[in-house]
């Protein structure tokens, strides 16, 4: 045990005394996190479509109309989901950007519009996608308004709506006589207005109404209310893009650790110090474990540093601190194991630097190191399952800001720990032969 810790302490010292390693392990990740935070914070307009989950609970003409228009809209890629929960899960898992719920209340069609409630549409968004939330909200308002001409064009629907509205206004208890009078007047005005309404007018109105709806103010009368709900709403504090980019920074920090340690065995071989290690009464397992522990500690240090910066300077909050610690351990463990596996296989420093850093760069890129997973086109996102970085990001984001239930955090944690063990064992075994001679 003493030998293992001696090796770990020695390797950490060497890491901290190498300026290049310190930069790539500790400085670079923080810089990346902050830089990307500002880039993504400045609003995102990636050319790709936003993926929407659509849950239609109403079979009304209005609901069907909105669903159809959403599907035909160039800005969206829609998928139908059976329940709100399923859709919310998909948002949480990052499979879609937002979920739009067309609730049962749309059954009442236009009646709701004049009863003072307006038409309610719910949307569930990933808190990291605030920029998209506004867009979706505006778009939904627009689409809802676009349904009006269709409804107005249907005379029976119209008459039914106006009479229903009259009755509901007359019987409404919360309305003052003045308001009732105004309401009745509006309905009359609307009745005469419908004969002259056209498509262009509808769209003009739509943008105005959209802005109104997006503001989310509950004015006394809002014809269409799109209620946007963030998945993990946190009182008073808007979630920032930094919440997304700091886990990305961690990915780069882990990549730095990996790079430093993947080449450390080769360096020992090249400098001859490996001979001294081989002469000492230790086994390959001691050596690999000592180095892996050093890598693990370095990985934890990076993560602690990144989170310290995020909490101190960027107002991030941690949803589940205990689970986050577990996730950080698992992530660092996975990369320590990976580094050891690579370290034991590479025979030259050039190999370790080339293969090691090259492979890690690609894995970091497809694993969400630069492009967040939810911005990726679907095929890349599928590819990302092959990257340990993706699992690290998933494991860290869950308890950090997604606030996912612990049951959903198990999979990434198990994957990371499995990667770590596997690498560790492969490393020790690969090293065993030359070491034992």
């Amino acid at each position: 045990m003493r030998a293992i810790f001696a090796i770990a302490r020695k390797d950490l010292r060497l890491l901290l005394r190498d300026k290049g390693d310190v930069f790539f392990t500790f400085v670079f990740p923080v810089v990346i996190a902050i830089l990307f935070g500002f880039v993504f914070g400045g609003g995102s307009n990636s050319g790709s479509k936003l993926e929407l989950a659509v849950v239609r609970e109403s079979d009304s003409v209005l609901a069907l109309g909105i669903e159809e228009d959403l599907a035909n809209d160039a800005a969206f890629e829609t998928t139908a989901f059976p329940t709100r929960d399923a859709a919310a899960d998909a948002v949480r898992a990052g499979k879609v950007t937002a979920a739009v719920i067309l609730p049962k209340s749309l059954d009442s069609g236009l009646e709701g519009l004049f009863s003072g409630q307006g038409i309610a549409i719910d949307a569930v968004v990933d808190p990291s996608r605030r920029a998209e939330a506004g867009l979706i909200q505006g778009k939904l308002n627009e689409l809802a308004f676009r349904q009006f001409p269709k409804l107005f064009a249907n005379g029976d629907e119209m008459k039914r709506a106006f009479s229903a509205a009259r009755t509901s206004i007359a019987s409404a208890r919360g309305m003052s006589p003045t308001q009732k009078l105004l309401g009745a007047g509006m309905i009359t005005a609307a009745e005469s207005f419908t004969s002259s309404i056209g498509d262009e007018d509808a769209s003009t109105n739509a943008s105005g109404g959209g802005a109104n709806g997006a503001a989310g103010n509950t004015a006394d009368f809002t014809p269409i209310r799109v209620k946007v709900e963030e998945l993990a709403p946190r009182a008073g504090r808007p979630r920032a893009s930094f919440d997304v980019t700091f886990p990305q920074g961690i990915v780069w920090g882990l990549a730095g650790c990996f790079g430093a340690f993947a080449s450390s065995l080769v360096t020992e071989r090249a400098r001859g110090t490996l001979d001294r290690l081989r002469l000492a009464p230790i086994t390959a397992f001691h050596l690999i474990s000592g180095k892996a522990i050093a890598c693990l500690v370095a990985g934890l240090l990076v993560q602690a540093l990144v989170f310290a910066v995020a909490l101190t300077f960027f107002g991030s909050q941690i949803a589940q601190p205990a689970m986050l610690v577990v996730a950080c351990f698992a992530a660092a463990f996975a990369f320590a194991g990976l580094a050891m596996a690579l370290a034991a296989f590479c025979r030259t420093e050039a190999e370790a630097n080339g293969a090691g850093r090259g492979a890690i760069l690609i894995l970091a890129l497809i694993g969400g190191g630069t492009i967040p997973l939810f911005f990726m086109p679907p095929f890349l996102r599928t590819l990302s399952y092959g990257s340990p970085f993706r699992w690290a990001v998933a494991a860290i984001e869950g308890p950090f800001w997604r606030d996912t239930p612990v049951s959903e955090q198990v999979v990434p944690l198990v994957v990371l720990i499995a990667i770590g063990f596997l690498g560790w064992i492969i490393g020790a075994r690969a090293l065993w032969r030359p070491f034992a001679r």
């Binding site: 001859g272 001979d275 001294r276 290690l277 002469l279 000492a280 009464p281 086994t283």
Partner: protein, 307 residues
């Protein structure tokens, strides 16, 4: 029959034997690095392995420590068996030919690390003692990267001693150092020997071998050409001494087994010449050349050690 053979080969190892290599062969591709080499290092001696670059000294050391497996032949350390076994190789310490230290760690951190690897008890005190022994106590907290060649060499040697091994293998421990540092290292080796360590010392400098080794083995092309004390080797292979007498600017070179007697004879002749009044035949110079390990190497291989 087989059994008796095995037994008799065991009997060949005296209890004194610390390291024994028997008929070692090792090749790298087409290069034959060690070619049937046999040697035995006895307790308490400084055994020198003398040979030119490429003779196979380092390969022999690597095999002796268990770092490298021989293609054929047997290695035994202290009668305990092969040093490939970690329990056996605990008893040896190696200072490799290359400086094998962590340049970014300090002298003390390096030694402490190796002491911890060996589970040395009271490591702190042990490290301080060693730093004092190799006269690096004043630079203990400086990084090795800032050291001179001689200082690195001394620390490289100290790292072989952390676990107080019985056998110390020093592979060209003076390579690349200035003469003053070299003398310090040679003194250090003698001191270790006087404290009871057994030392296997490789070098391609015959002066070093002659100065500090109790016995010397001459190697070339991976073969042990002869082993013995320096005097034995010279007696066997050095040939005669030369006495060079200079008279009136003319030199006469006389080969003799007993140069002192020859010198005395030359003086006696000069005296009698003077008494007989023969002038112009004064001896103006006299030089004795004794054979040395260089001569031995020349006579064994037909080549010079320092080609």
């Amino acid at each position: 029959m087989m059994r008796r053979n095995t037994q008799s080969s065991c009997v060949h190892y005296p209890s004194q034997s610390v390291l024994s290599l028997r008929d070692i062969h090792r090749r790298f591709g087409h290069t034959i690095a060690v070619d049937g080499l046999t040697l035995e290092v006895r307790a308490g001696e400084v055994f020198g392995l003398l040979g030119p670059n490429g003779a196979g000294k380092s390969t022999t050391i690597a095999i002796a420590t268990g770092l490298l497996a021989p293609d054929a032949g047997a290695v035994d350390l202290l009668g305990l068996g092969s040093p490939a076994n970690p329990k056996v190789r605990m008893h040896l310490g190696l200072a490799p030919q290359e400086i094998t230290l962590y340049a970014e760690l300090t002298a003390r951190e390096n030694l402490r690390f190796f002491a911890d690897l060996y589970g040395v008890s009271n490591a702190r005190a042990r490290v301080d003692d060693l730093l004092a022994l190799v006269e690096l106590d004043a630079r203990a907290t400086d990084r090795v990267a800032t050291f001179s060649g001689g200082m690195k060499r001394r620390l490289n040697l100290a790292a072989a001693l952390v676990h107080d091994p019985k056998l110390v293998l020093l592979d060209e421990p003076t390579a690349g150092v200035d003469p003053q540092s070299r003398n310090r290292i040679l003194e250090l080796v003698r001191r270790l020997a006087s404290e009871g360590k057994t030392i296997l010392y490789t070098t391609h400098y015959m002066e070093e071998a002659a100065k500090i080794c109790d016995r010397v083995g001459i190697v070339d092309h991976g073969r042990m050409l002869d082993v013995g004390t320096v005097a034995d080797l010279i007696a066997r292979h050095g040939g005669q001494s030369a006495v060079t007498v200079e008279r009136d600017g003319a030199e006469e070179r006389i080969l003799t087994a007993d140069p002192v007697a020859e010198v005395a004879r030359q003086f006696a002749r000069a005296n009698s010449d003077r008494e007989r009044g023969e002038v112009g035949r004064e001896v103006t110079g006299l030089r004795i050349e004794r054979p040395d390990l260089e001569t031995v190497f020349l006579s064994l291989t037909g080549r010079s050690l320092r080609e």
